[in-house]
Symmetry: C2
Subunit: 183 residues, 2 copies
DNA sequence: GATTGACATGTCAGCTCTTACATGTCACTC
DNA sequence: GAGTGACATGTAAGAGCTGACATGTCAATC
């Protein structure tokens, strides 16, 4: 019988609707740039995902093609139905706390490595976190995405603190694999 | 001509190899439980992903079926090749910092809501973060996954702090949509 | 007028992951 | 012996996403 009732993800749609609502009509190209610029620490999507999704959203009446300019440029605008959908998702959707993080996976597996390698791995993670934090710190905290920016800064700093503590702990270990010189 | 050189994800493989290396031979069922129990805040995978992946990994020589017990139970063990692959991934793989977080997406879109709705959304996020943090705080910090556990605790606490600050800020706003009564 | 590079839109193969469906064993209780 | 629930393993459809490929415009420089 096969009763299929997929709870489709919608996150990409919501992100696109959010950008259109917040900053007005835009082309797929613009939206891809916006993703790169402002949503990058929150959600990622390339143009290869965005263009087909806009077509589907237009078919579903959530956005409308407003005009076609030079260079085949198509401007999409959010429709009232799209705005409604966006707001009800925000208000009703219980976010899954699920995180898939390669950094955390490497952290999890650290005990498999000897001390030197573990230190090298944590140092690489630290550099990566530092770099991401620096990017966020350059952003304008008065712009639209400021709440997510604050969250990203907060998480970035706590990640960095974790890396420093972990490095200190690893370096504090005596050369022997097992710690506990006294207790 | 189509020269395909996909940088396949491998993360699921690595996670499985890591569990097998850390805790010894196990069945697919055990691994699914371990995922649920110890890796849940780092990576998620259900049995429907794990069973086929173990078969592929066996075909690639990374794991071996050790024995088949009652109830059709199959015990997998990591091979030397698997252990080697695991360690080189850990040491060589530059983790993508990419995060896809529905919580952060909701945070990003907060300015689209009126004050009351925004407060409700942040309160729901806060409850969710609190709940996840409570789960982590119950875990044994001396066990294998302790580095990732520390990272999760650190991130969880900073998320909670963000929620509290954001709530305070939202509640501090005067009823009018725009703040700035003085400057 | 030729080249270069930013602008602009798309397709497709193949991998990843989730959901639903499907099957069967074993231990224990009623 | 019938039913329940934990144990145990799978398949398949379809959504989500990445990377490679493909096409064409327009403005500025050489």
């Amino acid at each position: 019988m096969s009763i299929l009732c997929y709870a489709a993800d919608m996150s990409l749609r919501i992100a696109l609707l959010g950008l259109l609502d917040a900053t007005g009509p835009a082309s797929g190209y613009d939206l891809a740039k916006s993703f790169e610029r402002s949503l990058n620490h929150v959600w990622q999507a390339g143009h290869t995902q965005i263009y087909p999704e806009l077509v589907k959203m237009a078919a579903d009446g959530l956005v409308a093609v407003e005009s076609e300019g030079a260079r085949g440029r198509k401007i999409y605008a959010i429709t009232p139905e799209g705005a409604e959908r966006l707001r009800s998702w925000l208000i009703e959707h219980e976010p899954t706390g699920a995180i898939r993080s390669e950094v955390a996976l490497q952290a999890f597996l650290l005990p498999l490595l000897d001390k030197e390698s573990a230190i090298a791995v944590v140092e690489r993670i630290r550099a990566r976190l530092q770099q991401r934090l620096a990017v966020l710190e350059c952003k304008d905290p008065s712009k639209f995405g400021r709440y997510a920016l604050n969250l990203g800064l907060s998480q970035g700093r706590s990640g960095l603190a974790w890396a420093d503590e972990t490095l200190a702990e690893l370096r504090g270990l005596e050369p022997a694999d097992q710690p506990a010189p006294a207790t």
